[in-house]
């Protein structure tokens, strides 16, 4: 009995010590003002140095929380009980959140740095007047290949993936919209197709790819591509940038027939408590210098034209991540297709994962 008591006391003591240490470490940099700004963002998607800088400039204390999928974020905000001042959904999720009345309007006139955003990145179909969202980063869906196994330049279009050469050598990202999407594009259809017959055709075409597919995975793809586990991967530009930073044999191609153009955007949820701080932060992030620093840290493409000019040549002239206008014009932005069609995309994708082998 005594022993157990000692053990319990020891565990409690350790917990207490750790708890104290945590609270000491997490103490805000600026203590004077109690006002805080709660940001809900993807993991590792903002340069921490900029958080410190913002706190110093404005005196707000930033609480930074992260999510790992649009859907998880949506569910959390929808269920209430949160007070996020800023969230960063992708474009189709902006529409969905707006339809569910989860977003507050944003007045671009109150953002003095809004003018720096490039014309091709504002007033997009999912938010024609930028009433609810301000673009944060953008990117594409494309093909990553390893020049140890694939001759450079031999992959230019989606159809090249169907080649017999790549048997059991392709990794796909586990995302229904993207995989069904590129099958649709390869057939000449829109990535926002709602016609069930066309979706079925896309599935048939995808099933033909089955024997080339090694696995359908998520974040682990980065690790495998870096370790030369597969010749080809299909994923997003930002993921590709991460992989290429760790393996110089990897290259990224945006197929010429077209692909997805995606945006992650700042929004202000209805439940925000500190809108003034939210505006201040969005404006701070739109400042070209900060945006450039952030783009360099995160590795995704910035929609901020003035910031782009500040980026080193090796980044801004990289056609892989800042594609030229002729490729850009073939890119399609996802629309929110409503629950029924979204379900159809996912069901067909599940069918592909099961039968297409």
């Amino acid at each position: 009995m005594k022993k157990i008591l000692y053990a319990v006391a020891a565990i409690l003591l350790v917990c207490l010590g750790l708890g104290y240490e945590v609270s000491r470490l997490e103490q805000p940099a600026v203590k004077a003002k109690k006002q805080s700004l709660i940001i809900y963002n993807w993991g590792d998607y903002l340069d921490p140095a900029l958080i410190k800088k913002f706190e110093h400039q404005t005196g707000y204390h930033i609480i930074y929380e992260t999510f790992d999928s649009n859907e998880a974020m949506y569910t959390k905000i929808k269920q209430g009980g949160t007070a996020y001042d800023i969230a960063v959904p992708s474009e189709y999720m902006v529409t969905k959140m707006e339809k569910a009345h989860l977003l507050d309007k944003i007045d671009p006139n109150k953002l003095s740095n809004f003018k720096y955003l490039g014309n091709s990145f504002i007033h997009q179909s999912f938010d024609k007047k930028n009433e609810f969202s301000i673009p944060y980063f953008w990117g594409t869906l494309g093909i990553i290949y390893n020049d140890k196994f694939v001759r450079p330049g031999s992959i230019t279009k989606w159809d090249d993936l169907w080649s017999k050469k790549y048997r059991n050598n392709i990794l796909l990202v586990d995302s229904a919209r993207d995989i069904m999407g590129f099958a649709l594009v390869s057939l000449g259809y829109s990535m926002n197709t709602t016609n069930l017959l066309k979706l079925r055709l896309a599935l048939t075409k995808l099933n033909g790819l089955g024997s080339n597919v090694k696995a359908v995975i998520a974040d682990e793809m980065k690790m495998y591509m870096v370790q030369n586990e597969a010749a080809i991967g299909v994923s997003w530009s930002g993921e590709a940038a991460d992989m290429m930073a760790n393996n110089s044999h990897l290259h990224y191609v945006v197929p010429k027939e077209g692909s997805n153009l995606w945006f992650d955007n700042f929004v202000i949820p209805r439940t925000a408590k500190n809108k003034k701080a939210a505006y201040a932060f969005i404006n701070f992030m739109l400042d070209p210098k900060n945006a450039a620093q952030n783009a360099e840290y995160v590795g995704y493409a910035t929609p901020n034209e003035a910031a782009m000019k500040l980026l080193p040549k090796s980044i801004k002239n990289d056609k892989q991540f800042y594609p030229d206008p002729s490729t850009l014009k073939n890119l399609q932005v996802y629309r929110d297709l409503g629950p029924k069609v979204t379900q159809a995309y996912n069901d067909l994708f599940l069918e592909f994962k099961m039968y297409g082998r």
Binding site: A72, D174, A176, A215, I217, N228, E229, Q343, L350, K353
Partner: protein
């Protein structure tokens, strides 16, 4: 001291726990499964499940893989458990068997990725004999192998305990009376150790039905079970009603397995 009042008092924490975390969630899942997205009562979800080839195929997959995993685990574990009871230093061996279960499942999965991948240890070893990298990761074999590895301790332990409880005199008696090794096993050892086998099967078959992380990490989503579907319906498309329906069907299947394996023990006893 031991009045009714104190008894009730002691029951309260447990009752609360059961109601809040077991009964209510199951009722919630049931409720979701028999409603549609606009809260109308309907059996549409179940109809969809049983008329859709994809779901039925997934159910078949789940069953088939769970069956194979359980069978292979049993074949490996039974002799292991038997010889364990005959060994010296049993506590040490037991500890070695239990030890892997202290390591987080995710870590073990990642360790296997490191072993089985093209540049992994297994392929490096094969490379010594001039065998070019064999594709092991993301195959049915890899999935079965890892799942079996993870489940083995949960099969060995109950069987070991069951065999340990058998009085050795009974085995000796069987041999003295002229039973062959096989007869001793069939008529004495196996029936008497059955309770252990049974709880081992339940501890493995039921969770294996909805194995989900391994299908993704080791199977590379080339092995699809009902767990994958549940994740999709709850997390990606947020069709909670259909997700709950699959959940309810899984629960029913699990109960069925419990009852089936449970009734066998009675029959065996009658036979004896």
């Amino acid at each position: 001291m031991n009045s009714k009042k104190t008894k009730v008092l002691f029951m309260i924490p447990y009752l609360l726990w059961i109601i809040l975390f077991v009964i209510l969630p199951i009722l919630l899942i049931l409720w979701y499964s028999i409603t549609d997205s606009s809260q109308h009562l309907t059996l549409v979800n179940f109809e969809e499940f049983f008329t859709n080839g994809t779901f039925l195929r997934m159910m078949l997959n789940s069953f088939w893989y769970a069956f194979l995993i359980t069978l292979v685990t049993l074949i490996i574990s039974y002799p292991a458990a038997y010889y364990l009871t005959r060994m010296k230093n049993q506590q040490l061996w037991l500890l070695l068997i239990i030890l892997p279960t202290w390591i987080n499942l995710l870590l073990k999965a990642y360790a296997f990725i490191g072993l089985l991948s093209n540049s992994g240890l297994v392929n490096q070893f094969l490379g010594l004999f001039g065998i070019s990298p064999v594709n092991i990761l993301f195959t049915d074999f890899a999935f079965m192998f890892v799942a079996t590895y993870i489940e083995i301790p949960f099969m060995i332990l109950p069987i070991y305990n069951a065999i340990k409880e058998i009085n050795p005199v009974i085995i000796q008696a069987s041999e003295d009376l002229g039973a062959s090794k096989w007869q001793t096993f069939k008529y004495v050892l196996w029936p008497l150790s059955w309770p252990g086998v049974e709880s081992g099967i339940q501890a493995i078959f039921i969770p294996s039905l909805s194995l989900f992380m391994l299908t993704r990490l080791i199977g590379g989503n080339r092995v699809i079970t009902l767990g994958t579907a549940i994740e999709e319906y709850f997390m990606t498309t947020m069709n909670w009603n259909m997700g709950a329906t699959i959940g309810v069907i899984l629960i029913i299947l699990m109960v069925a397995v419990m009852i089936l394996t449970g009734s066998k023990i009675k029959r065996k006893k009658v036979e004896l």
